[in-house]
Structures are given as C-alpha cells and as structure tokens.
Amino acid sequence: MREDSVLALQRSLVEAALMLDPAPLERDPAGFAAGRGLPRGDQEAFARFKERLLVYRNLVRSDLVEPVERICYVTRALMEQAGLWEDCLAGFLASRGVRSAFYRDLSATFLGWLAATGWGRERWPFLLQLVHFELLNALVARHPGAPPPPGLRAGPRAGDRLVLAAPTQVVTYQHRVHLSTAAAPVPEPGTVHLLAYRDREGDAQWLELTPATAALLLAARAASIGRAALDLGLADPSEALELLGQLQAKGAIAGFTPDLPLPGRPSPSAA
C-alpha cells in the first residue's frame, strides 16, 4: 500500500467529521469511501465501522465547538433564540478553517469566519461586535504580555507620553455589546468606547470611556499628554493627568515616558 493511500484515508475521515451533512456516510458508508477513491477493502471497513466513524464525527465537532461555546456564550444565546446556533456552528466546521494548534485560538478563528462569510450579519448587524467583545475579555485576561520599555514613570506629567499595558485595548463599537447578557443578548444601538485592561489581580476589566477620553488615550501614545489634551480643547491638562494616573493605578497603563523625539519624527525645536 502506498503512502498516498494513507493520506486519502485521513482526508476521508476528516471530511466525514466536518462535512455539513453526514447523510451520505450514514446512508452508504462504502459508497462514501468509494466516492473518495478508496479501494474495496477500505470501503468495507467504512461499512463495518460506520457507527464508530460517526462517533469520531461527534468527538471532532465537540472538540472544536466547546471552546467557542465557553467564550461566546452570549452569542450562543442570541442565536439559540432564533434556532440558528447549530446551523452557524455547522457552517463554521464545514469551512475547515481551524489552523491553529492552540485551543485558545478557536474563538478568534470563529470570529474570522463570521467576518469573512458575513454569516448572520443581515439579521444581526452587531454580530461581529458582540463576538469581538466576548473574545476581547479572554484575550485581555490571557495576553502573554511584554516587558514595558525601560525607564517608565508611575506618575504622569504634561510633557510625557503614555504607554498602555500590553494587554490593554481601546475599542469602539457601534452597539452597546458590552451590556449584552445571555438573557438579553440583543444590544442597543449606539457608539461606545471601551477600555479593556487587566487589573492588578489579573482579571479582565472594561471601562466605558467618553469620546474625549478615548481620543486622549490614543493621542497621548504618540504625542505628549499636554499636546493631546490641547488638541482635544483642554487648556488645563490637570484633569487628564489625574485620570491617567488613576488608570495607571488600575493596571491599564504601564507608565509614562518623556515625550522625546521618536525615530523618524522631528524634534519640537526642529519644527
């Protein structure tokens, strides 16, 4: 027996596990095998082990779905209300898009599949944002982190730039998905800015931000806090400095660094 026959058998089993409709395998397992070019002996084995091949279908599907269901439980509730969760998962599995060896990547793969296919978006325009928010909590909690740049200060000054903690993200949604629950999964429309961060205890947290604060957090990463505040119409940066100090204490901001010229950026005196 040649090695390409081994690959053909492996492809057949994975197809049996992930294909949308198992009926061809259930109805005629030998025919299913024949249709994939497997020789008579293999066809007979498929017929002999039909029920157990279907067990593998259950096992594979359960393995791939369980991490998604654990993280995206509000999304699941949303779709179950419409009787569409199983359809959605079946489409996801049939796409055979899981490429990562890491379980923790499965929900991100699911989100990527929803984004690429547009599945459910017409019915639920907020769907991607909802799944993204559910995933965000897990990503923040498990972010591998990175050592902060050397020389960061704990207290902000107007001439400093801020450095967010590695797990921290500032996100904007067009629906209030952060308030969705399994009991009430449909979010209200409305722009919302969130700061997602890992607190000092290691738990994922989020804070709803005003548009100005969200803009400040983004702008003060590239320019001094004083400059960013001024651009936002705040002549006195003291309120911004106090807020940033509080966020640093919570763990959202790694620290502050003098606004020295960045590589490729002209210094203020050269401007």
Binding site: M1, S5, Q10, V60, P167, G202
Partner: protein, 286 residues
C-alpha cells in the same frame, strides 16, 4: 535507544490542569512530578499562566503534546517546534511525548486524536515523521498508543505489530497508556495481557493511567472518571514485566474533581506502584 535518566521521574505523577493551578502554585502537595501539555502554556499569558509557570519552574515536569499530528502529512510548524524546544528546556522535561495518531489534514486541525490506518505504508510514514521529530527536539521523543474506536480502512497489521514497527523503526521510547489498552480491549474484544505480550515493553519510558466511561455499547476514553480496578490491576501486571520504575501519570481532563480528591487517587495508585516495585522483576513473557 536514547532515554533520559529516570530520577526524579519515578512514582505516580499528576496531570497539571487549569482548575488546580492556584493551589499547586502555592505548594507542591507531595506529587513527584507533573505532566502538562505545552500547547496550554506556549504563547499563553495572564494570571493562570503565571501560576502554572511557578509550579513548572519549581517541580519536575514531563511534557506531553497534543497537536503535532505525528502520523499526518502536514509539515511540522517550524515556529511551534522552536517554541516547544524552548518550553522543554524551560521545564527541564526529560522527554516529550505525543500520540500515535493524526489530528490534521491539509492544514485543517481537528483537535482530536484520530486513528492511523494500520498498514505498512502508514507505519513507514510515521517512522519518518517520528525520526524527524526525534532529530528536531532537544530531548528524547516518545509516542503513546491511543484509544481508537474504528479501524481506519483495511488493516494489514494488528495494533501490537503496527506499534512495534513504528517504535523500532524510529528507535524511540514508548509512552504506554494502560487505560487505552484496556479500553481498546473492551471495544475490540481482545485480552489486554496477550496484547501486552506482543509489544516491546523494553521501550516503555512512561505510563499513563486514567478513567473511562461507557457510551452505549462503546467504552470511551474520557479521562473523566476515576481509574477502575481492572486498569489498576493491569498496571500492576505490566510494571514488573517492564522491570524498571518507569513513571506513571494519572490523567484527568474532564469532570475534574477537587485537587484533594485527585491527590487521594494518586496516593492509592502510588501505593500499588510501590507494592509492585518492591517485588522482584518478572520476565516480560512470564
């Protein structure tokens, strides 16, 4: 065959699982070694990860992988192998084990341990892949016999011969999962002791022991229940025939109970282990 020294990897260890990270990070509750899947550590972060790393740095650790798809055809991920090598050095694992199975095809990952066709071609292919891993990893490489529920295609070899061809052909050690042998014996109707007389016990470097559950007329290797007496008896039967104090690992991956419950089960298995190892070794075929 290259194997690392057994010390301190002897006795009965425990799989280190997420619900117990905090307790284990605080103190080692008398477990001689832990086993952990590198996929659950590499690239991860956060509080639970830090807790796991504290235990992994402090205590003896054995690495047991889930994702290399040794019998598959997808090329090994070079970046992952580099990360795995770093992990193995970081933990001081004496070896790295994987399953005799495939889990991905054409880049599509199933996260399930799927059975190999028991053919000479599949054995030749797996030998090449196992040799490649043996060459690319910084510690010895072991393969574990899996539970399987169906033969994939027409078999040319019985499982003991298939397994022997691969272990001998790749010249690697064996992680003997005694529960898998037992579960397969129920599902395929053979005598597990006869099976164990047909395999190269001299290649065993580690053992797994676990619980299983019934699902209709099929016995499933769920790692979701306590070890039952017949499996424990099988461990006691085979250990003297291996003739060396190979480490035994108690696996529990589903319905994970409180750590104290698992520790009690581990202690009971350790007692059985100690009792057997105190007796003279037996010939593998006695």
């Amino acid at each position: 065959m290259a194997t690392a020294p057994l010390e301190p990897f002897t006795g009965v260890g425990l799989g280190l699982r997420h619900p117990h990270f905090q307790a284990v990070a605080e103190r080692n509750p008398g477990v001689p070694f832990w086993e952990i899947a590198p996929e659950n550590v590499i690239g991860d972060g956060g509080r639970e990860h830090d807790r796991a790393c504290r235990a992994l740095l402090r205590d003896p650790v054995i690495s047991h992988g889930l994702s290399l798809s040794v019998g598959g055809f997808d090329p090994f991920d070079a970046e992952y192998l580099e990360q795995l090598a770093e992990f193995l050095i970081f933990t001081g694992s004496p070896w790295h084990s994987e399953h005799l199975c495939f889990s991905s095809v054409d880049g599509s990952v199933t996260h399930e341990l799927l059975p190999m066709p028991m053919t000479r071609a599949a054995a030749r292919h797996t030998v090449r892949r196992a040799r490649e891993l043996k060459d690319r990893l910084p510690v010895p490489f072991l393969l574990e016999n899996i539970t399987y529920y169906a033969e994939l295609g027409e078999s040319e070899l019985a499982e003991p011969e298939f397994l022997s061809e691969i272990l001998d052909g790749a010249d690697i050690g064996w992680l003997l999962d005694i529960n898998n042998v037992y579960v397969n014996s129920l599902n395929f109707g053979f005598d597990p002791r006869d099976w164990l007389l047909r395999v190269p016990l001299e290649r065993v470097a580690q053992m797994h022991i676990a619980g299983h559950e019934q699902w209709g007329d099929l016995t499933l290797d769920t790692h979701g229940a306590p070890v039952i007496d017949p499996v424990l008896e099988l461990m006691k039967w085979v250990l003297p025939r291996i003739g060396r104090p190979v480490p035994v690992l108690l696996e529990r991956d589903n319905d994970i109970p409180d750590l104290e419950v698992l520790l009690a089960e581990r202690s009971a298995i350790q007692e059985a282990y100690d009792e057997v190892m105190a007796a003279p070794a037996r010939s593998p075929h006695a």
